[in-house]
Structures are given as C-alpha cells and as structure tokens.
Symmetry: C2
Subunit: 549 residues, 2 copies
Amino acid sequence: MESSLPTHAKDNPNVSAEGAPSKNALKKAQKEAEKAAKKAAAKKADEEKRVAQQAQASEDTAKDKYGDLPQDEVKITHLKKLGEEYVDKEVTVISRIHNTRSQSAKLAFLMLRQQGKTIQAVVAANSEAVSRQMVKWSVSLNVNSFVRVTGIVKKPDPPVASASISNLELQVTKIYLVARAAEQLPMQVKDAERPPPAKEEEGQVDAEGAPIVTLKTRLDNRVIDLQTECNQAIFTISSAVEGLFAEYLRKAGSRQFNTPKILGAATEGGSGVFEVKNYFGKSGFLAQSPQLYKQMLIAADCESVFEVGPVFRAENSNTHRHLCEFTGLDFEMVFDHHYHEVLGFAEQLIVFIVHELQARYKDEIAVVQKYFPRAGDFRIKDGKALRLKYFDGIKILRDAGVDTTEQDNFVTDLTTAQEKRLGQLIREKYDTDFYVLDEFPMCVRPFYTKVHPTDPNLSNSYDFFMRGEEIMSGAQRINDAAELEAAMRSKGLDPNSEGFQDYVNAFRQGCRPHAGGGLGLNRIVMFFLGLDNVRQATPFPRDPQRLRP
Amino acid sequence: MESSLPTHAKDNPNVSAEGAPSKNALKKAQKEAEKAAKKAAAKKADEEKRVAQQAQASEDTAKDKYGDLPQDEVKITHLKKLGEEYVDKEVTVISRIHNTRSQSAKLAFLMLRQQGKTIQAVVAANSEAVSRQMVKWSVSLNVNSFVRVTGIVKKPDPPVASASISNLELQVTKIYLVARAAEQLPMQVKDAERPPPAKEEEGQVDAEGAPIVTLKTRLDNRVIDLQTECNQAIFTISSAVEGLFAEYLRKAGSRQFNTPKILGAATEGGSGVFEVKNYFGKSGFLAQSPQLYKQMLIAADCESVFEVGPVFRAENSNTHRHLCEFTGLDFEMVFDHHYHEVLGFAEQLIVFIVHELQARYKDEIAVVQKYFPRAGDFRIKDGKALRLKYFDGIKILRDAGVDTTEQDNFVTDLTTAQEKRLGQLIREKYDTDFYVLDEFPMCVRPFYTKVHPTDPNLSNSYDFFMRGEEIMSGAQRINDAAELEAAMRSKGLDPNSEGFQDYVNAFRQGCRPHAGGGLGLNRIVMFFLGLDNVRQATPFPRDPQRLRP
C-alpha cells in the first residue's frame, strides 16, 4: 500500500538513502510500520487511560473538565466564525490538534485547526478550574486528533504569528477527545502546507530539516493533503465554479440533464475510449464527452441544455493539464440566426464566473495566493472577452517571430507552447487573461463541426483560453442528416455504424441550428488560480499512473 | 437498427399480425424502409423544388414570403411566451409542424409545436400577401419540420380545442423552412402523446385505429418521444429537482465535489460492479456510489459535501424502478452531537424540494397530470416529514394483517410489496406521502453503518420513502478505524484489501462523527409525479436490456 509508508524515509531502516527500496523491502517496511503503528496506538490508549485513571484517583480538581466526550449538547461555534466580537466570551469549538507544546507542568499551548484555519489555545493550571493533570492530558493527545474545546476568547498581545487567526486565542476551560488520530501518520498536514519541491524527488528537506513533500506523496495521502488551508480554499472555489456555471445557465432558462456514461459503441474515436468489460454480455464504452447526447437533446426540442458530469479519456497523456477522468461543464443551445449568439453567451458565462469568484471569494483567493502567487491577478480587461479570429491569433505569433508555417498551411492546430506564448503576447498587448479564438480551420475540428459559410477551409468553431491554455472547445454543429453523413464519410467514419445510427437519426426528423461548448472544471480552477498542475484542482485525480486513492 | 422500424406494424408486409417478425424479416423490412424513406425524401425534395420553381415562374404575388430561410435577423418569440397581450400584433416563431390540413387551394391549417406547446396557424390566400402557391407549399412540408413563421396573433372563436394554446392562433404572413424532417419517421410525436398501452405489446391500436406505442418503442425512438408535452414537462421538473438539491445544500454551506468514477478496486460488493477492461494495463471498476469518497472528504476536513453524478449498478434487476446507471444526489456532513441533526436536515431537504416544485412548477405538474393522474396530488402533511422507527412501521403493517414474521426475526428488510402497503397505510392514517423510517436493523445495512448506542441489533440508519417507495438510504457512519475494521471483518470483508486501504486509513488520522445519505434523482421525479416507470424520468435509460440510444 502506497499511502501508509512513512514520508520520513530516513526513519525507515529498509529504505537506503541511495536508491529506491525493493518491492519486498517496501512490503516488509509497510507491514512493520503497520504493526508498529498498531502497537503504538494500543500503548498510547493504555497510557491515556492510565493517566486519566491516575488523574481521577488523585485529587484532580478538574476531573470532569477533560477526557472522554460527555453527552451534553452545548452550542458549537465554527472557528471561521470567530471574530473580535467574541472577546471575553466563552465558546466551544470542535477542531483538530494541529500541534502541541508543553511549556511546563502547569502550562501548555495547543494549536487548534478547523478547515485549515488555526488558533492558539492555552491550557494553564492557574486555578482550580484547570488542573496539572488536565494540562498533562492535553499535551498527551496525538496531533490531528479531534477535540471539543471550551474556552474564553482573549486578545493576545502580541498576536500569535503562527496562527491564521492571530488576533485571538482561547483560554481553555474544558477539553474532550472527539476522535483520536494515530500517533504515526504517513504525512503531516504541516508538511503539506510548505510549498512543493521544485523537482518531484522524494527525501528533500528544507533549511530547517523539515521534509518537503512531492506532489506524488501529497496525492498518495490526499485525505491528509486536502486538510491544508490552501486546499480547503481551492475546493471552495472549485465548488463555486460548478455552482456559478449552473446558476448562469439556469438563469438563461437552460435545463440540466444527465446523459448516459456507458455507451453501446465507441464514437468519438476508438483509441481514447475506456471499454466496459461485460455489460450483460455486451461491450460497453465510457463516454468521452456528452457531445452526441446533448445534440440529441437539442434534436429532441430541449432548446438549451447543460450537463455537469464526468468525462473519460483513455489517453496516455502525462502532462500538467491532462486527466483520464475530469468534470465536464457542457452546454448546447439552439440559436435564432447566427452561432455568435451562442459564442457571446459563452463568453459572458466565463466573464460572469470570474467576476463572481473575485467578488464572492476574496478570502479564499487570498489564501491560495500565499502558495500560488498568481492566484489573485487574473484579469479580464473591461469585463469583456477578447475575441480574435484564429488566423489573427496566428498573425500575432508570427509578428512576434514564432514559426507558424504549419498553421499557415493547415497542417496542425496551435501547439501547447504556441498557445502559452500567444497568451503572454495577448496579456502584454491587450492586458487580459481571457481570450477566444474563432473560425478554426475545418481540418483540425471534429466531424460534427459546421463549415464556415463562405470559406470551406474554416469552420464556425471557437476555443476559449485562460492564461494561454485551452479551457473550452465549441462550435456550431451540423444539424442536417445528409450534411452530417457526408462530413462523417469525409473523415473516414461510417454514419451507419452502431455508435452513430441514433445520433444521425436524430437529425433526420428535423433539428434546429445549434451550437455549444464543453469546459473542463478542473482546468478553469487551475488556470484561474494559477496552479501548477490540474491534479491540484482535482480532489482524487485519475491519470495513466494513478487509480488510487 | 431498432429505431428505424416503422411503428405502424400493420403497414409492414413482413410483420404478421399474429407473431413477432423474424430477425431476417426485421432486417429486410428495415432496409426496405430505409430505402423507401430515402427515395421518398429525394422525391419530396424534388417536388418541393418543382413547386417552388413553378410558383416563382408563374405570377406569385407572395414569392418572397415563403421557401428557403432568408438571412434577415428578425426578432423571434417563443411560443410559451405568447399571451393575449399579443392579440393583433405580429410575431415570428420558430417551431415544428405538428400536422398540416389542407382545407382548399386557398386555405390550410398548420398545427405548430414548440417544446410540446401547440398553436394553430392559418395560411389563407385571401389577399395578395398570401398566394395559392404559398398555401400549397405550406401543406407540402413534412410533419416535424422546423419552420420560421411570421403572423398576426388572433383570438379564435371558438377556441382551437386541439391546440394547447387554444385561445390564440396565427394568421400567417410569412413561412420559411428552417430544417426539413424526413417524410417517414419511425414514430410520430402525436402517437407518443397518447397514453401507453396497459401491456407492453406492439401493434395495438386505439378505438380510432391510431397506434398505441409501447414504452419500448418510445425509448427506442427517444429523441422523438422526448418532444411530447408531457416529457418536456417531466424533464423541466427533473432539472429543477437537481437544481433545488444543490440550492439547498449550498445555502447550508455545503461544498460540491466530483469524486472519481473509475476505481482501482471493487469495494461495495463485487457482483454488482462493472469492470473497466484496461486502465493502462490495470483493471478498473465503476463506482457503485460515491460513499467511500464522500466519507474520505469528511475525513479530509470538508465537513459538509455533496455530489451529483452517475452511479453504476451491474445488477440484473428488470423492474419498474431499477436502472444500471442513474443520477445520484449524495450528501455527507459532520454533526455536533447526534446524527438526528443530519436526519432532520435531510428531511427538510425533501420538504424543500417538494414545496418549491409545487410552488414554482405548477404549469409543468398540470401538464404531467393530464397523462399521469397522480402527478398533482403529492402530499406532505403540515410540511413536515413523518418520522417513524423501523419497528413502528413494522407494527403498522402487522396491525393491518400483513405477515411480518421475517422482519420481526431480523431475517430480511421490508419487501417492495410491504413498502408499498406501508405507504398506503401511512397515507390513510397520517395523510402524507413522505415518511422516514429510522433505526433499521443492523443486519440489513452496509458495513460502514454505525450501530445503535444501546441496542446492538439496531443501527443509526434511516430510509426515506415517497408514495411507499424508497428514494434514499442513509445513516451515521463509523468514524473510528478500529471499529470499522471489526465491522468489515464481521461482514466477511478484508479491511487490508486494495479497495479498502485508503478508506480505512482515512479514519486512522482522526475523523469527526458524520452522517449522510444518497438520493436517486430519477426515483424522486418518478414518485413525486406518480409515473409508472423510472425510465420515464430518465432521458436515455440504461438497464440490462438497453444500451441504446
């Protein structure tokens, strides 16, 4: 098991400093670690019990003020709600122990943590209300355990620099154990709160000898990793993007649908598709996008639809921005006269999301910015998308000295490097991080794309970019069966094959002109916040190497 | 291909009235039908062209008022927006031709349809503005084609009984073709608008000889079927349920997550799981629920999470309420003192959804009620869930003479028949369609369920019922690793197996007590509206027999 290995390789006798451990050594180490952890946990529990009993046996003036959780139902306050209006008031919080420090037999400091926010708690045996036994018990608790703490809110002078709620602290009057953490954890939250190393190499330490954990280790121990202040903020923003997408679409009268993810045939290209082994004796395939189904819903008079759901790509792409499973934000809608009605709608969607994030989630963006400095600087000039034609984008690159011969000759689409460069040039020239390229060459777009009305080399299609990286692809779609069949044949696809019949038939019974697009939730979060890797914007990422946790 | 077969079996010489056609006959019939359809379409197009040319050749006073769509960008009005305030005003709509009727060379009636709503349009050659050629062209259009119609809104006397917008009609001044439908469709929307037959048998006709289409035929031709007034309303309500669920959770501070659907190991029982054939050389499995992952998010300090996403069940259950892929509405949250905090929250969630549906979607519910008479009568007494203990529910059954020996002796859970009977008894006794059973026997619940604090035979778990059928299962979950391992072993599961390690480890590092539940979107819609079958509440259902369209 990957995730139970202690991160501190130097503590483990089976792992040499020079090389990677063998599989057997890993297994052995793991078993021993588990055994040791169990033994330690049992010992710890015994000791805690002994201390508690001892405490109760001796004259403990505070014996009801700590230990096992009582059954009383006191009012609980969330750490994030605490403000100066609480000073000198009593509050009860349920939080983790971020760390403990024993100053003396009569004085201990606990750092409490809830959803990444930290506050200092002082356990001081300076009256009958708090006993020495209570102080001792408090510091005996394992880091990351959950406690219910009652205390008086005070204003420390000077502020507690190491706490995120630095202007307040708690004078503890009661402390009870809610859930115990094991003594030895594979990774500490405080380790995950330091910036990742420049290179993905295990075993690095910082100037103070503290381990620097790689992205791999963080993702192997994702349940602990997600507890950092930064990750709590990232996933608040991710949730918000999902909500804002739906909010915008619903306001426009669009309806949410959930189209099937198991399909009877591979459609959008067989190589990138996962196969379901045995669907009641038949082969099934995982949807690479809801494209065909959302168009079928348009053909079914739904007029404007959206979907939020998983998208599966069996592509062996091991990059910073590819996943084998991601959350697609898809929409599709009829238009009255021109596909630019839909394009404008989609541009305003992104403007809305960015604007609302910056208005409603200032605090979370500021937290992420401590770890990813670009988080706060996403810019949309004049609150409006910059829309360029594809070949105007190519011209900007060419004018800056980039070789665009292949693009000029319709050989390939923009490369990732060219996209990023274009993003930089556009930021310099237009002062914006969000732009759209319209009228892509027909040859680089999928078969269902509508050709440009006057130039057969071009198409009514567009890509959206944030900080120079693609977040959305979209287009007007072919809405006539005969035209669609011809387009499929010209791309070497058989419109009569099992995977396409239902789709093509949808257009035989009449379908209005329509357009749409598909956004990647994880990419929007990544590029908006300026993260390094799409995995940082994915709670439990799936890539060619990773199927756990 | 299933879906191209004509529904009118009597028209097809290869299908005998007595029995089902052979496979070969079906294939042949299908090929012939396709050939005929193609031929007819070509003929039709030729004829339309000829008529148009003829019209233009002769003295056509209205030759610019009909035919191919011009490039002008006139304002488009949606049919559902039309009201009496439009009388005597000119509007332009884009709608389908529901049917056509030629009264004379000078007068035709078109029924127009948009998203299930219908209105009569009159094409009358009574002035120079509308020519006989225009009347002829209008009735020559295939049913289901899209047209852009400009006309003056009038108030017909008497109202047009056959139109859903019966108080208005359009006096056509212009009509252009937007998208042509094939002449022969596998099913007509008007056929799908009649109630389904009592028995799933093909070839039935009603008193007037019109075909009664089975659910199978409807689902085979789902793109056409979804165009009915009733289906348009059902999926407006389905979209609303999804939105209201998210709205309620977000208001309560919960965050939306998307957990992976491809897993590295089968977890919640191997028999009901779909396998992904080749995940980069490894085996993958489709998630049977987000249960383990939403709990891992709770262990990762997320405190309150929800997810809307597909749930995959490889169960060979061919019933009115089982699907192999459905949309799960899942939530999970920590509580301060008692799991009833979460239970109460979930009860209020359902009350909120039902209340808002009844307040915001009166029109859609009324439409569904025309086809499913119970749609409008869903009742929650005093706007509050009725909460009973499981064994109090059993007692109600026993008191009514139902044999509950197996339940009394902890042998099995309630059967479907018992659930339905209990629903009837509760409606009679308590005047409500929504009730909750709490404290289920431990033996019928999954391993992660928290045992009742004082009775080891019971558990802190609950099911929700609408009209006597289950829509949700939920519980307090075990939040201690040692307790969880023991519970798994007692159910014959290995906590150290690959599929469980990450999950069990999540509790080793400390996790707060929490509870949650999982709702089925499709079932809520089905039971709320009193539909017959969960497939009617699913845009493209997946079951052991169906992987298309």
